[in-house]
Symmetry: C2
Subunit: 220 residues, 2 copies
DNA sequence: GAGAACAAAATGGTTAACAATCAAGGTGCG
DNA sequence: CGCACCTTGATTGTTAACCATTTTGTTCTC
C-alpha cells in the first residue's frame, strides 16, 4: 500500500529516531498527505518497529511540528494553512533579522570572501536558469548566516520553523520568476553583512523574508 | 536522598502528563538543581509511575527545554548559563517586538482602556513597592500583548523560551531597583500600542527586552 | 602508574497485555 | 419518526517484564 517500496526488506530502523526519519521522509515526499491519520499500529506494522518506538517517533514529529496529536484521538499529518505559513514566516523574519545583524557583527575577512563567492554563484545560477543550484546556494547562504550569528537558540528556533514549512517553501522555490525577485534581496543581505552593518543586515534580511511572505500570500 | 519529601505517599500520578507536572514543579522549586541527573528508575520509583510514563514525561520536558537529554546518557536538569540566557532573551527580544507591532495593528478601543489600566496599576504597584503585584501585572501585560498580536506561532515560541528561562527571569525580578528601570519601558510599550504605531511598539518592546539583556549580563 | 579487560548501571527498545477513551451505530422509547 | 441511551469496536494510553546496547567505573595486569 503505502510508501514502502517493495524491494527493500525493512532495513534495521530499530531506533525511534530512524522511524521518525522514515515517517518524516514519507510526509515530505507527499506519500502521507496532510490531514491523514497516522495510526500507531499501522505504522508499527509498516516500518517494522514496535509501537513504543512509533509512539516516540510521533512525539518527536509532533515536537517538530510536522504532525499533530490530539489526546486519545491519535496523530495526523499536520496541514499547514497558508495563514499559518504566513505566521511562521513572520516569526522567521524577525529571527533571521537577528541572525543577520549578529552575523554582521561577527563576520571575518575570510567569511566575507566566502559570502561574496556564494553571491557570485547565485548570480550565475540564476542567469543560467539553474533553479536547483540556486536553491541549494540559497539554503547554504541562510545556513552560513546562522552559523556566523553564533546564536544557537535562534538556530534551533529557525530549524523548527523551517521544518514545519518545508512544503510551502518548496512550492515557492519552484515558482517561475521567483529567483529574479529573491536574488537581489540575497545580494543585499550579503552586502550589508560584508559591510559589517548590523542594522542594514537586519533590514535586508527582513525585507527578504517579507517578500517571501508576500509571495506566500499570493500563492493561494 | 533526593528531593521527595518523605511524608506524601506517592499519589496516583498515573499519567505521563502528571509525572511531567511533578518533575517540572520539583525543578522550578529548586529541589532538582541544574545539572542533576534524572535517572528514569529513580523517578519512576519516587513518583510511583512506570518507567514508560517517566520516559514520556522526560521527553516532554526536554521539548519544553527544562531538561536536556543526551543519547544513551540520560536526562539532566538543564543548566542555563548566563550566556545562554542572553541568547534566549535576544530571540525573545525580536519576537516580542513582532508581537508588539502586530498588537498595535489589531488593538481595539476596549483593549486600549484595558492596557492603560494595567499601566496605571503598574505605576501604583511600583510606587507602593509591591514587587509581587508588579511582577504579576508584568506577565499580565506581556500575555495580553501576545494575545492581541494574534500570532499563535510567536506565542508558542515565546512560551518555550520563557519556560527555559524562568530561573533567571525570577532572580531578575527580585533585583532591587529593577522595577524603577522597567516601569517606564512598559509604559512606553503601552503608549505605542495604544497610539496604534507598529514601528513604535516594536521599538519600545525591543528596547525593553534589550534592557533585560543588559541586566542579565550585569547579574553574573 | 598506564592501559586493557571486565562488571555494574542506565538507557533504548520490544512484547504482550490491560484500561480508558472516543466515534459510531444500533436499540428502544416517547 | 426522532431522539436519547447504550453497546461495541477501534485506538490510544499505560503498565510490566525483559533483553540489547552503551556508558562508566573498577580492577587486574604489565
Amino acid at each position: 500500500m503505502s510508501a514502502t517500496s517493495a524491494a527493500e526488506p525493512v532495513e534495521p530502523a530499530g531506533r525511534a529516531d530512524a522511524v521518525a526519519d522514515r515517517i518524516r521522509a514519507t510526509i515530505l515526499a507527499g506519500d502521507f498527505v496532510p490531514g491523514q491519520r497516522l495510526v500507531e499500529a499501522e505504522l508499527s506494522d509498516a516500518f517494522g518497529a514496535s509501537r513504543g518506538a512509533v509512539r516516540a517517533a510521533l512525539l518527536q514529529l509532533d515536537h517538530e511540528g510536522l504532525v499533530e496529536r490530539v489526546a486519545n484521538r491519535g496523530a495526523r499529518v499536520r496541514a499547514v494553512s497558508v495563514e499559518e505559513a504566513v505566521a511562521i514566516t513572520e516569526v522567521r523574519m524577525v529571527v533571521e533579522g537577528l541572525c543577520a545583524a549578529k552575523a554582521a557583527e561577527n563576520v571575518t575577512d575570510a567569511d566575507i570572501t566566502e559570502l561574496r563567492d556564494i553571491g557570485r554563484r547565485m548570480q550565475e545560477a540564476v542567469r543560467a536558469g539553474e533553479i536547483v543550484v540556486y536553491s541549494q546556494l540559497n539554503t547554504m547562504l541562510h545556513d552560513r548566516v546562522r552559523e556566523l550569528a553564533g546564536q544557537p537558540v535562534a538556530t534551533e528556533v529557525l530549524s523548527r520553523l523551517l521544518a514545519r514549512n518545508v512544503r510551502h517553501q518548496f512550492r515557492l522555490a519552484l515558482r517561475p520568476g521567483r529567483p529574479q525577485v529573491s536574488l537581489p534581496e540575497h545580494l543585499a543581505i550579503i552586502d550589508e553583512i560584508c559591510s559589517r552593518s548590523p542594522e542594514g543586515a537586519e533590514r535586508a534580511a527582513r525585507r527578504h523574508v517579507a517578500s517571501v511572505i508576500e509571495a506566500l500570500r499570493d500563492a493561494t
